[in-house]
Symmetry: C2
Subunit: 210 residues, 2 copies
DNA sequence: CACTTTCGAAACGGCACCGTTGCGTATCGG
DNA sequence: CCGATACGCAACGGTGCCGTTTCGAAAGTG
């Protein structure tokens, strides 16, 4: 680990009866503010490379010292920031596969509309090669849960017989998500409210004539 | 236009009999070297924001003056560089829709493997919002021809009856390309030689049980 | 109360790049 | 040969960020 004993969880008052190191405890509020500022700047279109510690400190209303005391380098900070992202996935009703997939894809579409998520996706694409460790964390906390949600629905569909028994689950997953990503990025003007529905129907039906 | 009379086509010896401005003509070789260096740096993972004129000049073996004389800002330079990209699309045999789609998607997969194209895609994703004018150019020279190639095949398939008559062409296009992009980015380890074939078959067949 | 640690703020020297300018040379037309 | 323009190169002053240090104040423990 690069952050050795730093970033040791709550970093704050350490109610744990063990070794309370004496001295002023680290401000939990400052920590939150730093991470929040980092995510804000990323959401405003900053790539990881252009992120400056000074800008983050200024935005967070915090001294640079406070940042360097917790994170030894920028990548660690960004990694922890991404890890702080919650993944509020919509619950699926479980009635039909079609309906559930539409729910998930529609949520994906909505998220892609929000600036914050939107630019996080950019990072996932462009900084993936340069910061593999960072990407690992992002995939784990943000991408994987969403993949899993779709995967569950598809698997259930195979079990219930709504989907073909020979469906390649990962392929189906990539097809649904990939199509949505394609539209949010390059589907100029063709993004309508029923987009999720159209994608799911096309994927279910297939292109070939019977 | 920002580049006023600059970047006036060949910029070189101007064989046009008209007003030859007298003096040493601009080096066409230098121009090529600059653009090539720019593309190289981008291909090495540089985002547009991190591209420095000094680095480009150094890489191209050229003085900064020579760059500033031609392009008034970085965005213009990058735009011209992207415009210089050729799009060597594979010819389709025209036998069957399935086979042609596989050909196109396989080419896409191969391209995604090359560093140069790979990082260009990153730019297409992450710098799209920040440099819309630049993106317009990139879409026109690189993305659109590929979209068109797939579009043609799909349209032909509808005409020949190989595909359903009610297929949404743009949607089919997004599904095929989107799935391939998804795999090249996040399909960890599952990228095999028959990927294009599997994508096309899944798209043709659909997920739903009959 | 002393003692320790963190806080925000400011300043440090150093570096990379900015866009411009001047220099001596090269390459064109007349 | 002469005037004009472009060339590569090196230097300019300016800016923004680096990572570190110093400072006085704050916030805890004993």
């Amino acid at each position: 680990m690069t952050t050795q004993e730093m970033t040791n969880g709550t970093a704050g008052q350490a109610t744990a009866g063990a070794g309370r190191p004496a001295g002023r405890p680290r401000s939990e509020k400052a920590e939150k503010a730093i991470i929040e500022a980092t995510l804000d700047l990323i959401a405003e279109g900053m790539g990881v490379a252009e992120l400056s510690i000074e800008a983050i400190a200024s935005r967070a209303g915090v001294g640079k010292t406070t940042i360097y005391r917790r994170w030894s380098n920028k990548e660690d900070l960004v990694a922890d920031s991404l890890a702080a992202l919650k993944a509020p996935l919509p619950p699926v009703k479980g009635v039909s596969v079609r309906e559930d997939l539409i729910t998930l894809l529609a949520a994906m579409q909505t998220e892609a509309g929000h600036e914050r998520t939107r630019c996080l996706m950019n990072i996932a694409m462009s900084d993936a090669d340069r910061y593999p460790r960072l990407m690992g964390r992002f995939v784990k906390t943000a991408v994987e849960p969403r993949k899993q949600a779709v995967r569950d629905v598809v698997r259930r569909g195979i079990d219930t017989g709504e989907l073909r028994p020979d469906v390649d689950v990962e392929m189906a997953l990539g097809m649904l998500s990939g199509t949505m990503i394609w539209y949010t990025k390059w589907g100029n003007g063709e993004i309508t409210d029923d987009l999720a529905e159209r994608i799911v129907d096309q994927a279910l039906t297939g292109l070939a004539a019977d």
